[in-house]
């Protein structure tokens, strides 16, 4: 019988370290290590989690975001008890189900059916519970008749689907999800998200790791942003994401302006009367570039929210002189809601040559106007375009 505490995650001042020397489990490495310690050299450690605090109450949803190597997956492993933390307190209440790289638990030599029983048991289901869920699992995995075939003959997509299907039918009190959306096709990703929202709707606590910020925004009420093993910001998802995007793109802008052949000297987006850009009003994009020699090129300019693909792209073909030159672009009725946006630029030769400059953000601008409509939970914001619509009920 689940008690009221089931589904709680408590992480208090948790620290985790790995060995810094990267010694391999081989005799000579181990002997060298023993030798170093005898000579009085302290063992060196690398901290991968520093003073992490987090608490999720039953039914809560929380995302962990951050660049690769920031400690998200380690934190998830510590919470799932697959790993032990070095210091602090880490507790979970109720059954913990972990979707961490779901193909790991699938044995290639066994049939799909055998794998469902094996992996299911390992994840903590009894044989009877698996019997009850067997058909649902097979249906969800969409493996059909292949269920009695050895898994090594499955496509990688089928393997992932099978693994996810087993792991997501645990009916755990706490669900830990690590980057499962990185695999599988778009269809399957959507299906996974739907399944996770179903599980969450049943009152399961969710801790979600993903680089897909749209998915994070759709799934989680709260977020925690980790950098260099530490918490950088935490709180409501939207606010944390804004912080995160800001930091990520500042970096991207710095990198791009340093390495370009065509240098970007100035990027400016203005609205009416050279003021701030406004939704639904005309906007002006102002680019100042510097070229080492005269030529001709196609300029692609895009506008994006976050690091995802641009919301819209326009193209311009022109000859340009050596030295500094200016490009102006008029955008009529700017179709994006209030927020911070990024300007992307790519330049390619006049013929259908490959682009000689990468597609990257070169600057940012703010838009004033109505805020974006928040979609219902579980819906991904894929095209955040502001549409000027008039509604009427008759």
């Amino acid at each position: 019988m689940p008690t009221s505490a089931d589904g709680t995650i408590i992480v208090e001042h948790v620290w985790k370290r790995f060995r810094a020397d990267q010694a391999k489990p081989r005799l000579n490495d181990q002997l060298a290590r023993v030798g170093q310690r005898l000579r009085g050299k302290e063992r060196e450690w690398r901290w991968v989690l520093k003073d992490i605090n987090l608490e999720v109450e039953p039914g809560g949803t929380m995302a962990l975001i951050g660049v690769n190597g920031s400690g998200k997956s380690t934190l998830l492993k510590v919470i799932s008890r697959a790993m032990y933390h070095t210091a602090g307190r880490c507790e979970t209440f109720g059954r913990v189900g972990a979707l961490l790289e779901v193909r790991g638990g699938i044995h290639p030599l066994l049939s799909g059916r055998e794998n469902i029983y094996m992996f299911g048991t390992v994840l903590g289901l009894t044989r009877r519970q698996i019997n009850e869920r067997f058909d649902t699992i097979v249906d969800f995995a969409e493996v059909g008749d292949a269920i009695d075939r050895q898994v090594k003959y499955y496509s990688s997509g089928m393997q992932v689907r099978l693994g996810f299907s087993i792991a997501s039918h645990l009916e755990a009190d706490i669900l830990l999800v690590d980057e499962i959306l990185a695999v599988g096709d778009a269809n399957f990703q959507q299906k996974c998200l739907r399944r996770i929202s179903e599980v969450v709707a049943n009152g399961t606590t969710l801790l979600f790791v993903s680089h897909d910020l749209a998915a994070v925004e759709a799934m989680c009420d709260n977020a925690m942003w980790l950098t260099d093993a530490m918490v950088r910001a935490s709180g409501p998802t939207r606010d944390v994401l804004a912080q995160y995007r800001g930091a990520i793109e500042e970096q991207a802008v710095m990198v791009s302006s340093a390495t370009s052949a065509l240098r970007v000297l100035k990027v400016e987006v203005t609205g009416p009367d050279d003021g701030i850009a406004q939704s639904g009003e005309n906007a002006q994009l102002h680019l100042v570039l510097s070229a080492p020699e005269a030529g001709a090129a196609r300029f692609f300019v895009g506008v994006s929210q976050g690091t995802a693909m641009p919301i819209f792209v326009t193209r311009y073909y022109s000859k340009f002189p050596a030295g500094d030159f200016e490009i102006r672009c008029q955008i009529r009725n700017l179709p994006i809601p209030k927020g911070r946006y990024y300007v992307w630029l790519a330049v390619s030769g006049p013929e259908k040559q490959p682009a000689n400059q990468q597609w990257k953000p070169i600057g940012s601008f703010d838009v004033f106007g109505p805020t974006a409509v928040e979609p219902p939970k579980g819906v991904m914001i894929l095209s955040p375009v502001y549409v000027d619509a008039t509604w009427e009920l008759s």
Partner: protein, 317 residues
């Protein structure tokens, strides 16, 4: 419905929170210490009894892991499970051909094939468990890093698997008994007691080996050598009584058996199975007692090594 979330920053905590706007907390990285306070380090303490209770609660996992390996290892083979029968049979044929004619090894009234086979079965259980159980942690690192059931499940599931193979290995023994017209003596009923000693001893060594190999892969090779030597250093082809009266170097008519079974409890196990089942003698309790005590010591030591090292299993990749 309220979605609960609370970031706990304890009063007096060092962590500085800069900016707090509608629940958003931004932490200043400079405020975080380089190392945790020394009193907050996690200490891994697992008492034996709760650990065994947890194991028995999760025994289905052990069975599932054993079942997985049995199914997987015979799926590729044409003869399938037949191999579990063939390999001990071949071994006994080989041993009988080589050692069956050695006069000094003969025991009156007992066919040598049966004599040798009993030793081989007891040894194969031990050796098979140690070989596959010792490698079980590194073979399952992938699963180990993603799941959280008791780690002992991996090596112990290998022992379970070997139990199955050894049981299958009893079939050639039955055939031998029928063929030679040999009826085991009533004292064979003591055998389960001896097997418990073997089980405890094996479990201790398997647990220690499984944990140590994670940190020191060279032990895989060491283990292979130990198993090869052990085949001859254990009274399988020779009787334990050979050690009863040793005169060598400084030793004059010394009974080495108590020391031997303390070092290798399998010696007492195998010898007593033969004494009771084949010769109809009563068990040698003094030797068995020593073997049992030391088997338990091996187990406790192995188990403690395992628990001590399990904290770092998932960190090693």
């Amino acid at each position: 419905m309220s979605w609960g979330f609370r970031l706990t920053v304890e009063p007096g905590s060092e962590t500085a929170v800069i900016g707090d706007k509608k629940g958003l907390r931004i932490v200043d990285p400079a405020s975080i210490a380089d190392e945790p306070p020394t009193d907050s380090y996690y200490r891994h303490r697992v008492a034996l009894i709760p650990a065994i209770r947890e194991m028995s609660r999760r025994r289905e996992i052990m069975v599932a892991l054993a079942e997985r390996d049995v199914r997987a290892s015979y799926k590729q083979a044409v003869l399938g499970m037949g191999w579990a029968l063939i390999s001990p049979l071949l071994q006994v044929i080989l041993f009988t051909l080589i050692f069956g004619h050695v006069k000094s090894l003969k025991i009156p009234g007992v066919p040598y094939a049966i004599y040798a086979y009993i030793g081989i079965l007891a040894w194969v259980y031990f050796a098979g468990s140690l070989a596959s159980g010792g490698n079980s942690m590194i073979a399952n690192l992938n699963l180990l890093q993603k799941t959280h059931f008791p780690r002992e499940c991996f090596p112990l599931s290998q022992m379970l698997e070997q139990t199955l193979y050894t049981t299958i290995g009893l079939i050639p023994l039955l055939l031998l008994l029928v063929d030679k017209g040999f009826v085991p003596k009533i004292e064979a009923l003591w055998i389960p007691v001896f097997l418990v000693i073997e089980l405890i001893f094996t479990a201790g060594l398997v647990l220690a080996m499984a944990a140590l190999i994670v940190y020191l892969r060279d032990l895989q090779q060491v283990m292979a050598i130990i198993l090869q030597l052990g085949l001859f250093a254990t009274p399988i082809i020779w009787p334990l009584s050979k050690l009863a009266n040793i005169t060598w170097g400084p030793l004059h008519h010394v009974d080495l058996r108590p020391y031997y079974v303390a070092f290798n409890p399998l010696g007492a196990v195998i010898d007593n199975i033969r004494r009771t089942a084949l010769l109809g003698l009563s068990p040698e309790w003094s030797l068995l007692g020593i073997a049992a005590v030391f088997a338990c010591l091996y187990f406790v030591a192995g188990y403690r090594i395992f628990k001590r090292l399990e904290v770092g299993f998932a960190d090693i990749s």
